[in-house]
């Protein structure tokens, strides 16, 4: 079936089966391969995208269900070729990753958190990322990245430019 999705601020028409997950649609139909399949049953969070601003698992919903909502993927928060968002840059500064597989999802979760809460406590950061499993880092440098990003964003006084 043919559906129209609002992805990263652009309207995209795709032909999918009703059973196609949003994750498979993003990866296979739209070549947005920053969203990753980890467990495909909603636990690991590697497939996280922003759905009307909320961090959700794209493996747990069908592409057709995304019609009428605004979807943002990691490709949508990257400012431009060779440029990083403050959150992305903070992850580089603290090395908040190793293999990079859970990283795009972790960054989108951080974006969602900071949009709601510009000054999160450590506990609030830990809570926010607790649905995203990272097997490499033990989370410490991820938590530090998000705290650093929050601090820098508050300093810029331009929270809209997450």
């Amino acid at each position: 079936m043919r559906i129209e999705l609002d992805i990263n601020g652009a309207k995209r028409e795709v032909e999918v089966e009703p059973r196609t997950t949003l994750l498979d649609c993003l990866r296979d139909n739209l070549a947005l391969t920053g969203a990753h399949a980890g467990c495909e049953h909603g636990v690991c969070g590697a497939c996280t995208v922003l759905f009307d601003g909320v961090a959700v698992r794209s493996c747990l919903m069908f592409a057709v269900q995304a019609q009428g909502s605004k979807i943002v993927t990691i490709e949508g928060v990257t400012p431009g070729p060779g440029e990083l968002s403050p959150v992305q840059d903070a992850f580089c500064e603290t090395h908040g990753m190793q293999c990079g597989y859970c990283t795009p999802a972790m960054i989108l979760t951080a974006h969602a958190l900071l949009a709601d809460n510009p000054d999160p406590t450590r506990e609030e950061i830990v809570e926010a990322i607790s649905g995203n499993i990272c097997r490499c880092t033990g989370y410490a440098q991820i938590v530090e990245a998000i705290a650093l990003a929050a601090e820098r964003l508050r300093g810029t006084n331009r929270p809209s430019e997450l």
Binding site: C92, Q98, P104, R135, G138
Partner: protein
Amino acid sequence: MSAPGNHRFVSTDRRVREDRRFVVGKGRFVADIGLPNTKHVALVTCPYPAARIVSIDTSAALAMPGVLYVLDGEELAGATLPLMTGLDTPNVPRRPLAFEVARYAGEWVAAVVADTRALAEDAAEKVKVQYQKLAFVLDAEQALAPGGVLVHEAHGSNVLLDKTFTWGEVDKDFAASPRKLKLRVKWGRSSTVPIETFGVVASWDPWRDILDVYASIQMPKYPEQIAMGLKLPASSVRVHYDVDVGGSYGVKRGIKHSVLVGYLTRRLGFPVRLIEDRLENMRGGDAHGPERLFDVEVAYDDQGIVKSMKMRALENVGAYAGRSPFQLGKPIGAIVGPYKIESVQYRAIAVVTNKTTQDAVRGFGQAPTNVAIERMMDEVANALGLDPIEVRRRNMIRHEEFPYLIPSGTTYDSGDYHAVIDKVLAHTSYEELKAERDRLQAEGKLAGIGIAACLEPSGGNASFEPLLNPKNPTTTWMDSCRISVDLSGAITATMHTTSAGQGHETLLATVIAEVLERDPDGIRVVRADSLNSLPSNSPVGSRMAIMLGGAAFHAANKLKDKLTTIAAHDLGIPLERATYRDGDVFDNDTPERRRSWADLVAIAHRNFHRMPPGLEPGLAVSHVYQVPTGGKLPTADGRVQMYPCFSFEFHMILVAIDPALGRPEIVKYRIGHDCGVVINPKIVRGMTMGGIAHGIGAALLEEFAYDGEGQLMAQSFMDYLLPSSHEVPAVEIIHHCTPSPNTVLGQKGSGESGYLGAPAAIANAINDAIRPLGVSVNTLPIRISALGDMIAAAQDSKGQR
């Protein structure tokens, strides 16, 4: 983190270059490889732990539109060779698809190829397999006992390996010892379980006779093993090493997947890909880790000095060999841990059962062994009423005793264990920690302090292979680096394997920049494919800082020597009068007489008439690096230098347990860590933190549990629990640096750090907490349910509830 010597880039807190592509979602993982006309594989799996395959009816599956092929084990076995195991067990063949008999629930029986993965999965359900159920065995002790069920009838027993080593006067030491103690420790079946499953894409080009392979792989001699399975020359297999691997920690060794898709693409003429789903990964992906039973017995004296140790390690490897039996071998290189135990008897037994096949897991058997040693140390302290740190101090090798030869033939390179402990205790007062424990106990909680001290053998050699299988005389495990400087003067370094998050590109750039005194950010790092690469044995055995770093160091020095030689010749001065600095070379006697980097590049690339006689034009060097201290076969009495370097870690933690729930909470976590000279502090810290998180999982949460019918109970992340951010506490790392004399910069390995001691520290803390109840627990993982039940039963028997 400070380091000896004046390093400009090494040990400085620089960013990790790989990170930029990952934060924008531009990693290039295997599922991102899009070759035109690629077809997809799904698998038909055996539902029983043991069954004879009577017939396979593929007609309904093949009748579905979009379904292209169904491959069974008979066809595949006829066309390929069994996979390499490294053991001398010819009657235990391991194949990608079960042939005649399936030996564990979830074993792959047939592979369906279709236009899409979804179609292939639909069709897999339509493949009708008729099975005849067979008797099965799940327990290692039962498998070992004579007269029981045989997993591989032709082998005649379930034993793949049973070797007893005796190093030193064990019987005499035991007879002379006033005190002895026995302990049984069980390490439950868990693994590394990366968030990216294993995947492989293969494409056969019949006009060039080349099989292109893109895989999420971390495996030594991978192209050669594919070639062997497919009966091709290895020069017909081109593995692309520029695929990012989404986590591995040892386990990404999908050789059976790779031979399977390699065969399919050759058979069918189009690219074929197999990306495991999570269930395939956990069940038939052959990616489980050790399941090991230890019986430890020690002889010690009234001061707590452990004189001798007997250890029996029984490994349940699952249905086929994989790499698992060798994981009994590597711990031989650190079998006494950081202690001066004078004699050791070690019996290593590997048996097959009807469970999923194992592969290599972070530490290669060292983490389970460390639990056994460190639980034993605590029990010695407990038996004598001594403090567990004090007992360890008394037994530890002292700084001035290095290099130190242990009974099993390995010489430890360097260490200062007492200094590391002192530093940790200076950071966090032991007395205050004990007071906090007592406070928690006063509040009605159970609370305990956990200590663990252990080594990280690093530098990844394969000496355990000849030790466990004399027909396998492997004595090198080299790695390589190639560096070239192009006509523009830019430096490009080449590595020859994949990475799974270890930051090897950063490592190479840092080391080369250090030697050549150039900006690391200006050094390009690329990955060869296997047809234009130098030898590598992949990032196993905590080895790349040592081995890739060593290869890069030597290659860079060759380049530096060449530049200096060219300059001296062009300046008309003797070589010893020429000094290299920041890429330029000057005359010591007249420093203003110099040749710049650009001059030297131009001479090498364009002006052969100005080159010294006998030197090759251009600027291209390479170095193939042998493992330091490696190269020798084991002695007749089973002694061998295992690994070149030994990092040290000392864990000190406080755990509180809610007695009503049995839920342990790690209140404080301190680790003293010494891995010699650190190349990149961000990377090493991350590895240690991640290792501790992984260790928490192995100690408390993760298990591939089976029911009595041979069915794997943990088939999703809802049953197999990976630590989330809630389960991993804040950890403070206290650094120390004892350089290794065996490496180019004094570096040691760190890729397994944290994981090697965390499970032992947690087990010791929990035992400290429940000791007042008169109970102990020595079976990992220590699940909340089991702990809660044990506490309740103990309280009932004491009338405390």
